[in-house]
C-alpha cells in the first residue's frame, strides 16, 4: 500500500491512477481507441474519466447501436474491417484485446 501511494503521489491524482492501470503494449492505439469511443458516442466526458480504462463499460454502458457506432468509428479510423466472428460485445469492450487486434491489422 505504501509503495502504491508513493507511486501515485500523496494527492492521489486520478490521472496518475489511470496511467497506472494502463496495460502493457499498444498504448498509443489503446488511447486512440478510448478517444474514439468517447468521441463517436458524443459522451463529452473529460479525459481523466476514461484514461486508463480497459473495458468500455467503465466509461459508459454500451447498448446495441452504441456498439455499432463504435465499431464503425474504429474501422474508419484505422481503415480496417473487423472479421464477422469477432463482432461480439465481449471482444469490442475488451480494450486491450481490441487494441492488439487493431495493431496487428493496422500494420499490414
Amino acid at each position: 500500500m505504501d509503495d502504491y501511494l508513493s507511486r501515485t503521489g500523496a494527492a492521489g491524482n486520478p490521472n496518475d491512477l489511470a496511467r497506472m492501470r494502463e496495460p502493457p503494449g499498444q498504448p498509443d492505439i489503446l488511447s486512440r481507441i478510448r478517444a474514439i469511443f468517447v468521441e463517436s458516442l458524443q459522451l463529452n466526458l473529460p479525459e481523466d474519466q476514461w484514461r486508463g480504462v480497459t473495458r468500455l463499460s467503465e466509461i459508459a454502458g454500451v447498448d446495441s447501436m452504441a456498439a455499432l457506432a463504435f465499431v464503425a468509428a474504429v474501422e474508419k479510423e484505422f481503415h480496417i474491417v473487423i472479421e464477422p466472428e469477432l463482432l461480439e460485445l465481449d471482444f469490442i469492450e475488451d480494450l486491450p484485446r481490441l487494441s492488439a487486434y487493431v495493431e496487428a491489422r493496422y500494420k499490414v
Partner: protein
C-alpha cells in the same frame, strides 16, 4: 396479440448503473402488482383457448376447420374494424379511396385472425409440410443480392403472411435472422394468465419466430452485422416502431420517425437491400421479391440516411397501398 417483430434497434449509451433507455413513443405496460390483479380475465380465457385447444386442433385437425374459426372474429371485433377504418381515413392515406375503406377494414380484420391461426400452424415442428406456397416471384433479385457475398437485408413491412413466408424460405434453404421485439406487454393478464399463460406464450412465440434477435439484446446490431458480413440474410420490418436514433419522413400521408439502424448496417456491410412482400395464408401464400434498391453512396452517416431513406419508405409504402388489407399495423399507425 400485437405483431412482435420490429425494426427498432435501441441506440445510445447509458452511464454505468443507469437503467436501460425507454423507446420514445412507446408506452411501457403498466405493471400492477401481482396481488392486485384479478384472478382470471376474459383475455386469460381467450389466450388459454388459443394456446391449448386451438393449438392442438392446428396440429391434428384439417386446416379448413381451423380457418372456419376465423369467421368468428369479425363478430367479436367490430370495434376493431371500425377503429381500423378510422385510422385508414384519418391517416390521410393517399391512394385509399373512402368508399373502399369499410371493405378493406373488414378484410384486414379477417386476415389478422387468419394470421393468428397460421401462427398456430407454425408452432408445430411439422409445419413445413402444411405450408403451401403458390409461387415465388422475383427470386432472381434475391439471388442477385446474395451473389455479391456481402449479405442481404430483406426489407419488409408487417404483412400477415410474413412469418409463414420466412419459415418456408428457411425450409427451402434460405434461413434468415429476424429482428424481434420481445418486450412483454402483459398488462392484460390476470393472475392466472401472468403465472401460467404468459411463460407459455413466450415459448409459443419463440417456436414460431424462428431465428431471431431481440431488439433489447445489447449485441443485436452486432449480430445483424455479423450475419451480413458472413454473407447471410437478415430480415428487417422497416415499418416497426422507432428507436432512439430516428429520422423523420412522411409515411402514408403523416409524419413518422424511422429507425436509422438499418442504414448503419447497410453502410458498414455493403449488403444488398431486397424488398420482400408476402401475401396470403399458410394454405396458399406467395412471396414477391422486388428489384434490389439502388443504394446511394454518401460520405457521412447523416448524408447517407438522407439519400436513402426516401426510397426505403417509398418501397414499403407502395406495398401497403397495393395490399392494405394484409398490412397488420393499421391499429398502431
Amino acid at each position: 396479440m400485437e405483431a412482435l417483430d420490429a425494426v427498432v434497434l435501441m441506440s445510445g449509451t447509458t452511464k454505468p448503473g443507469d437503467s436501460p433507455r425507454r423507446l420514445p413513443g412507446r408506452s411501457e405496460p403498466s405493471a400492477p402488482s401481482f396481488e392486485r390483479l384479478p384472478l382470471f380475465t376474459a383475455d386469460d380465457l381467450l389466450w388459454f383457448l388459443y394456446l391449448y385447444p386451438l393449438r392442438v386442433l392446428a396440429a391434428f385437425g384439417p386446416q379448413g376447420l381451423l380457418y372456419s374459426i376465423a369467421r368468428l372474429f369479425p363478430f367479436r371485433a367490430r370495434k376493431r374494424r371500425d377503429m381500423a377504418a378510422r385510422r385508414m381515413l384519418t391517416g390521410q392515406c393517399a391512394g385509399i379511396a373512402r368508399a373502399r375503406v369499410p371493405r378493406i377494414a373488414g378484410n384486414f380484420l379477417a386476415n389478422s385472425a387468419i394470421r393468428m391461426l397460421d401462427d398456430l400452424v407454425l408452432s408445430w415442428p411439422s409445419c413445413p409440410k402444411k405450408l403451401r406456397c403458390s409461387g415465388i416471384q422475383g427470386l432472381e433479385h434475391f439471388d442477385r443480392g446474395r451473389s455479391a457475398g456481402k449479405g442481404v437485408i430483406l426489407l419488409t413491412a408487417h404483412f400477415c403472411a410474413i412469418r409463414i413466408a420466412k419459415r418456408y424460405l428457411a425450409a427451402v434453404g434460405h434461413p434468415m435472422l429476424t429482428v424481434r421485439d420481445q418486450t412483454e406487454r402483459g398488462d392484460w393478464w390476470g393472475r392466472f394468465g401472468r403465472r401460467i399463460l404468459e411463460p407459455r406464450r413466450m415459448e409459443f412465440l419463440d417456436a414460431i419466430m424462428g431465428e431471431s434477435v431481440d431488439i433489447r439484446d445489447r449485441e443485436c446490431a452486432l449480430k445483424l452485422l455479423r450475419r451480413l458480413r458472413s454473407g447471410g440474410v437478415v430480415n428487417i420490418h422497416f415499418d416497426g416502431q422507432s428507436g432512439t436514433n430516428t429520422a423523420p419522413w412522411s409515411f402514408l400521408g403523416a409524419p413518422r420517425h424511422f429507425s436509422t439502424g438499418i442504414f448503419d448496417l447497410v453502410r458498414m456491410s455493403g449488403c444488398a437491400v431486397v424488398p420482400m412482400l408476402c401475401l396470403g395464408r399458410s394454405s396458399a401464400f406467395r412471396i414477391v421479391f422486388g428489384p434490389m434498391l439502388d443504394i446511394v453512396p454518401a460520405p457521412g452517416r447523416d448524408e447517407f440516411i438522407r439519400a436513402n431513406l426516401p426510397a426505403f419508405v417509398e418501397t414499403i409504402e407502395k406495398q401497403i397501398l397495393d395490399h392494405p388489407e394484409e398490412w397488420e399495423q393499421w391499429m398502431t399507425i
